[in-house]
């Protein structure tokens, strides 16, 4: 049986949405990569360009909102089509947040001169490499509706969390020891936290990918109906 809809224009609209979300994901990954490069090179001019790049991310998000709204209103999507559109809409919100976090990282460099030693640089690069790998993997997984690949993100995110914990612990230790570059250390703590949050958004996209493919919603059965009602009314 053909995978195409009887209405070719419906396929075009869904394809457009998929192209846009992939483009948005790739833009976000590039923006994060550039933001980290700016941190490492302490380049405020390049950081300004990263900040302005967030406008493109926001514009793609707005476009996805309008196209999703139109497809839902005009095509009455069902089953896997409905799940795909809901997921694209949800992923766009997650990606938009990763764009904001990348912008926040870049803004730190616009406003401050950081002095990063080899140890901090090493930990920052390891963390940002892991986060970027997860984000690009999950974008690929969603693009190919690859449930198995999406599943790998959950373990990979634990590695991100460990790297963040390691980096932030080392930074906290430096604060306790009255490090001469305490301002840099504080900013690196924020950067580490921003990267860890980007990792969480990648994990959200992985969950959404699994929902798009299988219809299964994570967290749905954490509470039974009675517990859920009690929590809602608490």
């Amino acid at each position: 049986m053909s995978n195409d809809h009887i209405l070719g224009t419906y396929d075009e609209e869904l394809t457009n949405l998929q192209i846009l979300i992939t483009k948005m994901g790739n833009e976000c990954a590039e923006m994060i990569r550039q933001a980290i490069d700016c941190v490492i090179s302490n380049d405020s001019n390049a950081a300004k360009q990263v900040v302005s790049r967030d406008k493109l991310i926001n514009a793609i998000n707005a476009e996805i909102t309008v196209l999703s709204q139109n497809v839902i209103a005009l095509r009455s999507p069902m089953a896997n089509d409905l799940r795909l559109i809901l997921t694209i809409f949800q992923n766009a919100l997650n990606l938009e947040r990763t764009g904001d976090l990348a912008k926040n990282i870049a803004k730190i460099i616009v406003k401050n001169d950081l002095v990063i030693d080899a140890s901090a640089r090493d930990k920052l690069e390891k963390l940002s490499d892991a986060v970027l790998q997860n984000l690009t993997d999950v974008i690929t997984a969603f693009n190919g509706l690859d449930e198995a690949k999406a599943q790998t993100i959950f373990d990979a995110d634990k590695i991100v969390d460990d790297l963040h914990d390691d980096f932030s612990s080392s930074l906290m230790l430096r604060i306790k020891n009255d490090d001469a570059h305490s301002e840099t250390v504080m900013h690196l703590l924020f950067i580490s936290r921003h990267l860890e949050r980007i990792g969480d958004h990648a994990k959200n996209i992985a969950e959404a990918t699994i929902y798009a493919v299988s219809g299964e919603i994570n967290q749905l059965d954490v509470f039974d109906d009675v517990q859920f009602e009690a929590l809602l009314n608490a």
Binding site: M1, S2, N3, D4, H5, I6, L7, Y10, S76, P77, M78, A79, N80, D81, L82, R83, S214, G215
Partner: protein, 263 residues
């Protein structure tokens, strides 16, 4: 093959139990060994592409197929544990018990009152004219038509609008106090407003009646029904809660049909 019971309601006793139903038109088999339970006081939708057997299966539920020459049925259909195809079954009371509303409104060429009164009269449901008037009023109220026609009950039913005519036919059906109402594309000849009124009415009627609707409109099935059965080429492909069918169906054929990939 699909389960014959919707997944989360197996504790409720079905009102209709269909066992290994096969229907033939001459040599051609239209329904292939379908087993299906219908739950009481629930709206069940039959969907599927043209020629899938959904209307044939619907008509099997009150033996309307008996009127089609060359049509033959195998298997059992039990309503309240009685096989309606047993030789002792009289189809006239059966069709009062399992009423039917058709695609095109088909009021009798009689007054509005007589359209509704006809069934109760021939089934002897009213002893007096006052009782008959009560049945007619209640049926017209039940079909949401009373306020629109109470001052012109003596006017021809054929003078009503299409939507009103269909509600008159629904009043005619419920006037004989059926247990089950079969609806074969009841809104396909109606405009969206008249359709919305019929759909709202169906939801109200489902408090008292079991409703089975054949519809080509998947949106209509999604809006009104609690259970949906998908038919294809005479097979029952999938039968489940309507929410499940339209959000996460199990069978790829169901998914391809409801998402507009074939039909």
């Amino acid at each position: 093959m699909a389960s014959n019971s919707p997944s989360d309601t197996q504790e409720i006793d079905p009102v209709v139990v269909c066992k290994n139903v096969n229907v033939f038109y001459g040599d051609k088999q239209a329904i292939n060994n379908i087993s299906l339970d219908i739950l009481p006081k629930t709206i069940t939708a039959f969907i599927g592409p043209s020629g899938c057997g959904k209307s044939t299966f619907l008509r099997a539920l009150n033996r309307m197929n008996d009127t089609i020459e060359g049509c033959r049925m195998e298997g059992e259909i039990l309503i309240d544990n009685t096989n309606i195809y047993h030789p002792d079954i009289d189809v006239v009371p059966l069709r009062a018990r399992v009423g039917m509303v058709f695609q095109k409104p088909n009021p009798f060429p009689k007054s509005i009152f007589d359209n509704v009164a006809y069934g109760p009269k021939i089934h002897g449901l009213a002893k007096t004219n006052a009782e008959l008037a009560d049945i007619v009023e209640n049926a017209l109220r039940g079909s949401g038509l009373w306020e629109e026609v109470k001052d012109r009950l003596d006017q021809p039913g054929t003078g009503l609008s299409g939507g009103q005519q269909q509600r008159l036919c629904i009043a005619r059906t419920i006037a004989v106090a059926p247990e089950i109402i079969l609806m074969d594309e009841p809104c396909s000849a109606l405009d969206p407003i008249a359709t919305a009124k019929i759909e709202a009415l169906m939801t109200d009627l489902a408090k008292d009646f079991t409703i089975i609707i054949v519809t080509h409109s998947m949106q209509q099935a999604a809006r009104v029904s609690k259970k949906t059965a998908f038919f294809h080429l005479g097979d029952l492909i999938e039968y489940d809660n309507t929410e499940t069918i339209f959000t996460n169906p199990t069978d790829s054929k169901t998914q391809d049909y409801i998402t507009g990939r074939f039909g």
